[in-house]
């Protein structure tokens, strides 16, 4: 499902004049330092923050002006970190909340939930309480909910935060294997380089660069936007771009550490 955002102004995060496109089937990453407006931008996409101005088209329809909340949630599945253990839902019940926008029979919902749990490899944990899961398991459960929601667009807001390295690969690998159009705000630049088809770079609420990871992740851009010195090489294991970082100002010398 295609996403087209044009001239978007938001009341928060300084997001102004933002435009981006995601083509059907693409995995597009949104990167930028803390506070650059990544999450804020995504919130306007899934109807949690009403834009001051601009247009958000998903599948050709205006999310805010021509779709209802229910219709837009039928198209857009979201994995985001918003608090709370709920009132002690089991994993299956939490995944079932993904069926909220759909008017399907309880038995159909049960099958869809079971299939979603199997998709993320959590069939055996269906009756566990969500609040007792580890961080990686929680993210997989939220991804299962997004799968059960059956949106043709998947929006991820920093899905790999607080996950150990193996769980990060596992989660993004799962997302890729779904083959759904995906727009993800990512914190970890090497993950963005490894998994995304294209990247958009946000700085202080504005898009400052976009393109393939190889084109976008240059030492000059990383110095300007993230304030770090970067070396861009090739990951010997995967052949994808591989970034190594150091502080822009050489603080190691001051502490006497060898470089």
């Amino acid at each position: 499902m295609r996403v087209e955002i044009t001239d978007l102004d938001l009341p928060l995060g300084g997001v102004a004049g933002v435009g981006l496109r995601v083509e059907p089937g693409e995995f597009v990453g949104l990167i930028g330092p803390n506070g650059s407006g990544k999450s804020t931008l995504l919130r306007a996409l899934y109807r949690a923050l009403r834009p001051d101005d601009g247009v958000v088209l998903v599948g050709g329809d205006d999310v805010w002006r021509s779709l209802t909340a229910r219709e837009s949630a039928g198209r857009i599945s979201v994995v985001a970190q918003h608090g709370g253990d709920g009132f002690d839902f089991t994993v299956a019940e939490l995944v079932a909340t993904g069926r909220t926008p759909h008017r399907t029979s309880p038995s159909a919902d049960r099958e869809i939930v079971a299939a979603a749990l199997e998709r993320v490899g959590m069939t055996g944990m269906a009756e566990r309480l969500y609040s007792t899961l580890s961080g990686g398991e929680r993210q997989r459960a939220l991804l299962a909910r997004a799968v059960a929601q059956r949106g043709a667009l998947l929006v991820l807001d920093e899905p790999t935060n607080h996950l150990d390295v193996n769980a990060q690969f596992e989660l993004l690998g799962l997302v890729r294997s779904l083959g759904v159009t995906t727009l993800a705000a990512l914190h970890e630049l090497n993950l963005a380089a490894a998994y995304c088809d294209r990247l958009y770079v946000l700085e202080a609420g504005r898009i400052v660069a976009h393109g393939s990871p190889g084109d976008v992740l240059t030492p000059a851009l990383l110095a300007e936007v993230f304030g770090v010195r970067a070396h861009v090489g090739v990951n010997p294991l995967t052949g994808r771009p591989n970034l190594t970082f150091a502080p822009l100002k050489d603080t190691f010398e001051e502490t006497g550490d060898p470089r």
Binding site: A69, F87, F89, T90, T97, T100, L129
Partner: protein, 345 residues
């Protein structure tokens, strides 16, 4: 750890069936026991005769018929309806403001109803409303005021709503206290009974509105179960699951206030039912509203029918206010549930 719910999966229909049997049994018991004990068979005959022919059966005396049909039956039905309504309203408000301590009175609705009722008792009917009518108006006016005070820039943040409700409650309670001081000695017991809640004054005429409201609201809310579940997860999550959060919250507040107002305008401020029954059911059956709300309605009704029976029979000839009973039965049960192994919602 898997969930340690007593009512899970296949046991759910069994639990509903048990309650559907227990409620009529408890009601028959509640009508047959009291200052005069009447045989359960007479109770059954009388109720069936009135419902089918509209007349009392020939083998039941006029006095017994009066006690059964005009005194104990309506109060038992009111207890059922009030318990169900308050429990459902409490459950919904706990989801709407996402606070486990919320109950039907958290938004000040009961304080508004109490002030209006006590005003009518002490000052007389000012605008031609009886006590129930005034209480209903007082409840609705309070909700409107809380919504007005609790909203800012078109949004209703749960915390701000609770704070507005609590603040307004104290103000209204102060006014109620002042009216109590000014009351004639003869009015005090009436005021006390109203404030603590009672179903003793019920007649059939009082029941139509609460019955209709409780049945209609509970059915509608159960139908909204999916969206209520989404609300439990927070505004942001509810929005991304397709709930128009602001409008839905406003609707839910109005519906639960309507439920509360319809009940307390007839039965007074019965405490505790709306707080503990939803929690008890969630601890036993989980938080999914589609499964929990029917159990909450039946459980709340059953609880109050039994509480009213106890209120009438524990220390005759004195009849205890319901609020004392609901607290005395409810608090220990609640504490037992909390002490059980398992998570606290």
């Amino acid at each position: 750890m898997t969930s340690s719910r007593l009512i899970s999966g296949r046991r759910y229909p069994l639990a509903v069936a048990l309650l559907l049997v227990a409620v009529p049994l408890a009601m028959v018991a509640a009508v047959s026991l009291g200052a005069v004990d009447l045989p359960a068979a007479d109770v059954w005959h009388t109720v069936v005769a009135h419902l089918t022919t509209g007349r009392r059966p020939v083998d039941v005396s006029g006095i017994d018929d009066e006690i059964i049909w005009n005194s104990r039956a309506p109060r038992t039905v009111l207890a059922l309806v009030a318990g169900a309504g308050l429990a459902v309203a409490g459950a919904v408000l706990q989801a709407v403001v996402r606070n486990p301590l919320a109950d039907p009175y958290v938004l000040g609705v009961a304080s508004g109803a109490s002030l209006a009722a006590v005003a009518v008792i002490t000052l007389g009917g000012i605008v031609g409303l009886g006590v129930p009518g005034a209480a209903f108006v007082g409840a609705c006016a309070t909700l409107a005021l809380v919504l007005l005070l609790g909203s800012r820039r078109g949004t209703l943040a749960p915390t701000r709503l609770i704070l507005a409700g609590v603040a307004l409650s104290y103000l209204l309670q102060g006014a109620t206290g002042y009216l109590q001081l000014r009351a004639q000695p003869g009015q005090l017991s009436g005021i006390l009974f109203w404030l603590l809640g009672s179903v003793s004054g019920a007649g059939w005429d009082d029941l139509a509105v609460p019955c209709a409201v409780v049945v209609a609201c509970t059915a509608w809310l159960t139908f909204q179960g999916k969206r209520l579940n989404a609300m439990l997860l927070g505004d942001e999550t509810a929005a991304m699951l397709g709930v128009a959060v602001h409008r839905f919250r406003l609707t839910l507040l109005a519906v639960s206030a309507l439920l509360t107002a319809a009940v307390i305008s007839v039965a007074g401020g019965i405490a505790f039912v709306g707080l503990i029954v939803p929690h008890a059911v969630r601890l036993l059956a989980g938080p999914d509203h589609r499964r929990a709300l029917p159990l909450i309605a039946l459980g709340g009704g059953l609880f109050l029918v039994l509480a009213d029976l106890a209120a009438r029979t524990l220390s005759p000839p004195l009849e205890l206010p319901l609020g004392i009973l609901t607290a005395a039965i409810g608090a220990p049960f609640f504490l037992w549930l909390l002490r059980r192994e398992g998570p606290v919602s």
